[in-house]
């Protein structure tokens, strides 16, 4: 990418894209190995955290005797809320820390800051998709029953959650290069989303005067989409893909512009 900016002869665009894809692929592989202990089974550890949270919440719901909306069993209700939320928040966090966590790799000129961000977003997307497939697969095995209303809508919801997290992460990542305060503020800013993104409730179940402000939160829309796709008894009438896409568009443009601006400020040591 830097060669495109500094090279007087514009390189073949397709070849450039292919080379960048190779770099992202290499980074994602490397990250998989370093993060999960260099052992192939280590990837399973990625499953442990969300599984524990889900089982805990499942137990809490049962003990508290809280009812889930009609047609949703507690386990599926929690998984369809928690996985897209986690996909968003983990993508945002991982991408936000992509430069600070991999600074040494920028030593290799083919590796550009954006590649680090993309590799992490891809890896988070793959991880949480796997988490979802395995949890729902296990659930189906236990129940001996498997029903999905509309798989495409489920995938679309995940895709939006992933891009939303990655583009928010990119903005945080670049701002973090300018000011450390942004890095410190990121956690406190994002954490409340856990409580207001529909992990524990649906838009339908909210009173209208609360539903309206709650739907300003784009993460809530991605959860709604996933649930609308998964449950035949629940519809997507409160979710707006366009609204989420608008957020993604604005965050991505701001993030990419910031990346150009902070590129010269990134220090290797």
């Amino acid at each position: 990418m830097s060669s495109a900016a500094t090279n007087p002869v514009p390189p073949n665009l397709l070849r450039g894209l292919w080379l960048q894809a190779e770099v992202v692929h290499a980074l994602a592989l490397r990250e998989t190995r370093t993060r999960f202990g260099g052992h192939k089974l280590g990837y399973l550890w990625a499953l442990v955290e969300p599984t524990l949270i889900i089982l805990t919440l499942d137990a809490l719901f049962r003990v508290a005797g809280r009812a889930t909306p009609v047609g949703m069993d507690i386990f599926s209700f929690i998984v369809t809320g928690l996985v897209p939320y986690h996909l968003f928040s983990a993508s945002a966090r991982q991408v936000a820390e992509s430069i600070n966590g991999n600074r040494a790799l920028l030593f290799y000129p083919p590796v550009q800051p954006l590649d680090l961000a993309i590799a992490r977003a891809v890896l988070e997307g793959a991880t949480y998709f796997m988490v979802f497939v395995l949890l729902m697969g296990a659930h189906a095995l236990v129940l001996q029953r498997f029903e999905v209303d509309d798989l495409l809508t489920v995938l679309w919801g995940f895709g939006l959650a992933s891009f939303l997290g990655a583009s928010a992460g990119l903005v945080f990542c670049c701002l973090g290069q300018i000011s450390n305060a942004v890095d410190r503020a990121r956690g406190p800013l994002l954490r409340p989303l856990f409580w207001i993104s529909g992990v524990f409730f649906t838009a339908e179940s909210l009173p209208a005067h609360i539903r309206k402000p709650a739907l300003y939160n784009p993460v809530f829309h991605t959860v709604e989409l996933v649930r609308a796709g998964w449950f035949s008894t629940y519809g997507p009438e409160h979710a707006s893909s366009t609204y989420v896409l608008a957020w993604i568009g604005v965050l991505a443009v701001v993030g990419l512009v910031l990346e150009r601006l902070v590129r010269r400020r990134i220090e290797l040591t």
């Binding site: 500094t6 080379l19 190995r33 030593f107 000129p109 220090e267």
Partner: protein
């Protein structure tokens, strides 16, 4: 051809901006052997990172029409928990090289035995240098940027590096940061002295060494 135009590099510190390179310009073609001299902290490694493109200058332009290596030093950008082999595979991938060939050639050059398959954090600095140098030689660059790699190596390794560089010099250029003056004399025909943010450019290596020597004792 590599060209630096009015390059300034400033690092932010708690005590305000620190200028490492102040409006330097440099132009060389890919086949040249260039030695870089300067005291510790003069900005030699920064210069290499900017030539290679690992860091962007604060202001000014860098143009490259040749394939330039990363700055090859003993510290390197190896991941400590990955094996030497896994690190080689990663670098081969990002440079779109034949992975198995790069791994085999690096292993043969580095001569670190079974350590090649052990985490890099278990390596001594000499072993890291062997891995880094072998890996860079397994990839075809037009210009190799070498940052004091021989300083930590033993005598056989230094000899091997010298021979590999000699062989490579026939078709590739070299920017060599070193305090080993004999090595600079052997591989370079041009010399840069980095001092107080400025570059002095000498076509005569012996003259550069003389000037540098005097500046050290002054």
């Amino acid at each position: 051809m590599i060209e630096l135009e009015h390059v300034t590099k400033t690092y932010r510190t708690t005590k305000g901006p620190h200028v490492v390179l102040d409006d330097v310009s440099l132009r060389f073609h890919a086949g040249e052997g260039i030695g870089v001299l300067g005291r510790n902290g003069a900005g030699k490694s920064t210069l290499l990172r900017i030539i290679g493109g690992a860091e962007a200058p604060t202001s000014g332009r860098v143009r490259r029409t040749s394939r330039v290596s990363w700055p090859i030093g003993f510290a390197g950008a190896f991941h400590g928990s990955l094996s030497g082999e896994a690190n080689c595979r990663f670098v081969a991938r990002i440079y779109a090289q034949d992975i198995d060939r790069v791994v085999d050639e690096t292993r043969a050059f580095a001569e670190i035995g079974e350590y090649f398959f052990m985490p890099v954090r278990t390596y001594s600095s000499g072993m890291r240098a062997r891995l880094a140098f072998g890996l860079s030689m397994a990839i075809d660059f037009d210009v190799y940027l070498i940052d004091e790699i021989t300083a930590v190596g033993d005598k056989p390794f230094r000899k091997k590096c010298g021979e590999a560089l000699e062989e490579r010099r026939a078709r590739a250029g070299l920017v060599l940061v070193s305090h080993d003056l004999a090595m600079i004399r052997r591989h370079c025909t041009r010399c840069l002295v980095v001092s107080r943010g400025a570059l002095s450019d000498y076509d005569d290596v012996d003259e550069a060494l003389k000037v540098y020597d005097q500046s050290l004792s002054a």
